[in-house]
């Protein structure tokens, strides 16, 4: 007999409560307004409280914050915060969501030249496909980059949690950063794609500027918009 359970990797939609700053009273009033408006949407929805962009995280009253949330019908299941708060989060019996990557202020928009290392989960893992990806086929490189040395046909779909490289013609759909990595990029030798997407932000072929069509390009995500550049 097998084990009575199994662990399965899965993606569950979560709402993130992104805090810029925390002051218990202001938060309570603001939440009051917001939850009244979005009552149905937020009712008992699992929420991750993110302190990623909050100032003065170290002195934060985590318990007060969580209580304020609960009072307004929000159910925090985890807190995304720097490691300094790890023990406080664990005391509150919530999950600690690590920051994907810590970027010092100022480097955020430097765009063109990024020297940071890939997030740990993606280090060294690459999926290489040497055969043409045919119409109707779907390839997913989980937690990895995807390199296709052949062509991707119209009606085919290639998906990666990391970057995508296509050395043949890219005529199908290419979805990079599929689980939210905003630093993922798409590189291809001939852009003939039906759709390109990075971290959920997408563009259809009709929206590609003409000068890129059929050309060797890279796509990156900048300020929540896809940016296509010639290579």
């Amino acid at each position: 007999m097998g084990t009575p359970f199994k662990f399965k990797g899965s993606l569950v939609p979560l709402t993130i409560l992104e805090l810029q700053e925390f002051e218990p009273h202001t938060l309570a009033t603001e939440l009051q307004k917001s939850t009244a408006k979005n009552a149905a949407f937020l009712a008992q929805a699992p929420v991750v409280v993110s302190l990623e962009h909050a100032s003065d995280v170290d002195g934060i009253d985590l318990e007060g914050l969580l209580n304020a949330c609960r009072e307004h019908g929000i159910r925090p299941i985890g807190v995304k915060a720097p490691d300094a708060l790890a023990s406080a989060i664990s005391d509150a019996q919530l999950a600690h969501v690590h920051l994907g990557k810590h970027r010092p202020a100022g480097e955020h928009d430097s765009g063109a030249k990024k020297t940071e290392e890939a997030p740990e989960s993606q280090q060294g893992s690459t999926m290489v496909v040497d055969k043409p990806v045919r119409s109707g086929q779907q390839i997913y490189a989980r937690d990895a980059d995807l390199i296709v040395t052949a062509s991707v046909s119209p009606g085919a779909e290639i998906i990666a949690d990391g970057n995508i490289h296509v050395y043949g013609r890219l005529a199908g759909r290419a979805i990079a950063g599929a689980s939210g990595n905003q630093d993922a990029r798409i590189f291809c030798r001939a852009l003939l794609a039906e759709l390109i997407s990075i971290a959920g932000c997408y563009k259809l072929s009709d929206d590609f500027p003409k000068r890129f069509w059929g050309n060797s390009i890279q796509v990156s995500l900048e300020d929540d918009a896809l940016r296509i550049q010639k290579l």
Binding site: R134, S153, G155
Partner: protein
């Protein structure tokens, strides 16, 4: 041991049955013992193209269901001793094809034949999947137009994921057969060029069959077009068969015929 070859395309009406009949007959003409199986259950056509429609007594489904044995169902061609046809059933549908049944018939045929040609129905469903499942090689028939090319691309994907070879981690050997090629229309830009299709599908080219009236004439008379030695299509099929058998053959009929002086003056 026989080689199982599926003739497939995804899209309908591109010339699968015509090509199956031509290639099967050509292989027999080259001395190989060949059987043609019609997998298009319910839309039986191969027997018509082969000119043996009045000799069908039992069919493929009867054999699968054990209502007849293979010897009773196989129709021997009257022109070539080493050519046989296993017709489809016209009164049933594709669900009558079972994997075990198909395997049983193929295993039996393998003992006797050099080549087993499976004429696939259009589509990517049950019938088409049955026809390609046991294939060692695949001849993908494509017309030089985008819908046909895309469907061929789709069926190539199915071949490399849903065939027995794919399940065993091997791959089905692919051949591209471009049919209904009209050099004039290609020159005018109405049709894709050979190079376009080759680039999109990335499959080795087995042959290019020019569009020709002799194909329709041959089909109507039940005589496979390879037997018409004067027709360009017949010659192109023979070239393709020789390439299939591993010979090096120059490509012909790829360019529009240049009208000579007399043709220009007196009409072609």
């Amino acid at each position: 041991m026989a080689k199982i070859v599926v003739v497939t395309s995804g899209k309908g009406g591109v010339g699968k049955t015509t090509s199956s009949a031509a290639i099967g007959t050509g292989l027999a003409m080259k001395g190989f013992k060949t059987v043609l199986i019609d997998f298009d259950v319910g839309l039986r056509n191969l027997d018509l193209i082969m000119g043996c429609e009045r000799r069908v007594v039992y069919d493929f489904i009867n054999v699968i269901n054990g209502e007849a044995n293979l010897k009773q169902a196989l129709i021997k061609d009257k022109r070539f001793d080493n050519l046989y046809i296993l017709p489809a059933s016209q009164t049933r549908d594709k669900d009558a094809l079972t994997q075990e049944g198909v395997q049983k018939v193929l295993d039996e045929l393998k003992q006797d034949f050099d080549y087993i040609l499976c004429d696939s129905p259009a589509g990517i469903e049950q019938g088409a999947q049955m026809a390609l499942y046991y294939a060692d090689e695949a001849i993908v028939v494509t017309n030089p137009e985008i819908a046909s090319v895309r469907d061929s691309d789709r069926i190539l994907g199915v071949l490399q994921s849903k065939s027995l070879k794919a399940e065993q981690g091997e791959s089905v050997k692919e051949h591209l057969l471009l049919t209904r090629y009209n050099p004039e229309r290609v020159e005018n830009g109405d049709m894709l060029t050979v190079e376009d299709v080759e680039e999109i599908l990335a499959v080795p080219l087995l042959g290019v069959i020019p569009e020709s009236e002799s194909v329709l004439n041959a089909s109507n008379r039940g005589i496979p077009v390879v037997m018409d030695e004067d027709s360009t299509a017949g010659m192109a099929y023979m070239d393709a068969i020789e390439r299939f058998l591993g010979e090096k053959v120059e490509y012909r009929f790829l360019e529009a015929e240049k009208k000579g002086f007399f043709k220009r003056v007196f009409g072609g």
